[in-house]
Amino acid sequence: MSLYPLFARPRTVQQAAQVLESMSSGVVVIAGGQELMPHVNHGVLQPEVYVDINALADLKGIREDDGLVSIGALTVHRDTFSDPLVAEKLPLLVEAMKLIGGGRQVHNRATMGGNIVAMHPLYDVVPVLLTLEAQVEVVRGAETRRTSLKELMADPRHGLGSEAILIRVLVAPMAADAGFAYEKLKSSGGAYGSANAAVALTVADGVIASLRLVIGAVADRLVDASEALAFCIGQSWSDALASKVEHCCAGLIDQPLSDHQGDGEWRKAMAGVVAQRAMGRAVARAVAQEGR
């Protein structure tokens, strides 16, 4: 190995996968660099090899594929949240991504893939993708595998491993009459929320018919509260139900994060607050749709 870091710019996904497979530790994949570079600049991470995947044209862009919305891993945030197909089919994703911190500079360079593989509990994209039960396509060596994002996030290694590349995300379109909301509670002017909640639901005849809700930024792992909130099905929205949702969701957080975004006890309480607020807004949206 060289004393200085090495650099590779593969031209195809296969080439990239082969490079990664042939390396041991110390190799990093770089796309926009928005996650990686702060760590490199401060010496937290000292890569031995950079594999630049920006030349992999297959990883760019958004299209419809077999009824799903396919978002390439190299698609930058600005291109995702201003894309007409995403706006029409995945409005919840647009709402959350516009709240990503770091300003236009970061929206212009940060990628979908980077946001996911960072596996950062404070980030805004994954709560939405889990709510919408997204799938991811991953290449490892000669194998291309499609798996649920949920499965990927549950991996005990907490990530893809350095030999794999995330190719794209696939999301089923939201129901046209869905109610949705992304709630991001910020305690300071910084980029991160202290508690986030993403919700997608449907309402029929004034009562909640289906519901998915994921809470982020309060624990090391994101919390899917959908099953715990099953008691909401068949109910209409009310202050009493909001209060039940709040207590239920706060109760799901047993090991809250304590960091710059707030201490643990408060974060646990805020998990309930954002869940309740997001649901209230989502129901209102769905009811307005139904009334049309």
Partner: protein
């Protein structure tokens, strides 16, 4: 696969209209390249974490924080720095002129971030309201906390750029 690995990379960058072919080390940030190799010191080094925005430049027409852009990933790119904002006849860019006229800056360390953000914002939205301006400059910190005068200057720039003489 070993043959793909290199110790340095050739990049072709058109910086403020001038083409440079540069051999860069894998770990060099675009900020270091601009300041140390090309001596374009108008782009400021602040935090090196992507928080402050003082290092903002335009990469292929879109603003970016150059401290967290790895230079070697820019195989071919068009870069505009704060030095490249002035017009061909040496006049200040209308956004720069508006900041000058309105005393938009206090210390000016954040100038690359604020000016580049304002240029990009006004290209997309020629008549931004306060909320749009605030979100447009959100990626840059003014440590003097002089945000009111910055917002005022961006508004003045919008008026200037929308007037027929501009």
């Amino acid at each position: 696969m070993e043959d793909l690995l290199t110790q340095s990379t050739l990049v072709q960058l058109r910086v403020n209209g001038k083409l440079h072919e540069l051999e860069v080390m894998p770990f060099t940030s675009l900020l270091d390249l601009l300041r140390e190799e090309l001596h374009l010191t108008g782009t400021h080094m602040g935090c090196m974490t992507g928080h402050c925005g003082a290092c903002t430049v335009m990469v292929n027409g879109r603003i970016a924080k150059s401290c967290i852009v790895l230079a070697s990933t820019l195989e071919r790119a068009e870069i505009t720095t704060i030095e490249g904002l002035r017009t061909a006849d040496g006049k200040l860019h209308p956004v720069q002129q508006a900041f000058w006229d309105e005393a938009g800056f206090q210390c000016g360390y954040c100038a690359p971030g604020m000016l580049m953000s304002a240029v990009e914002l006004l290209k997309e939205n020629p008549n931004p309201d306060d909320a749009a301006i605030e979100s447009g400059i959100a990626g840059t910190l003014c440590r003097c906390t002089g945000y009111r005068s910055i917002v005022r200057a961006v508004k003045a720039a919008a008026v200037r750029m929308n007037s027929p003489e501009a």
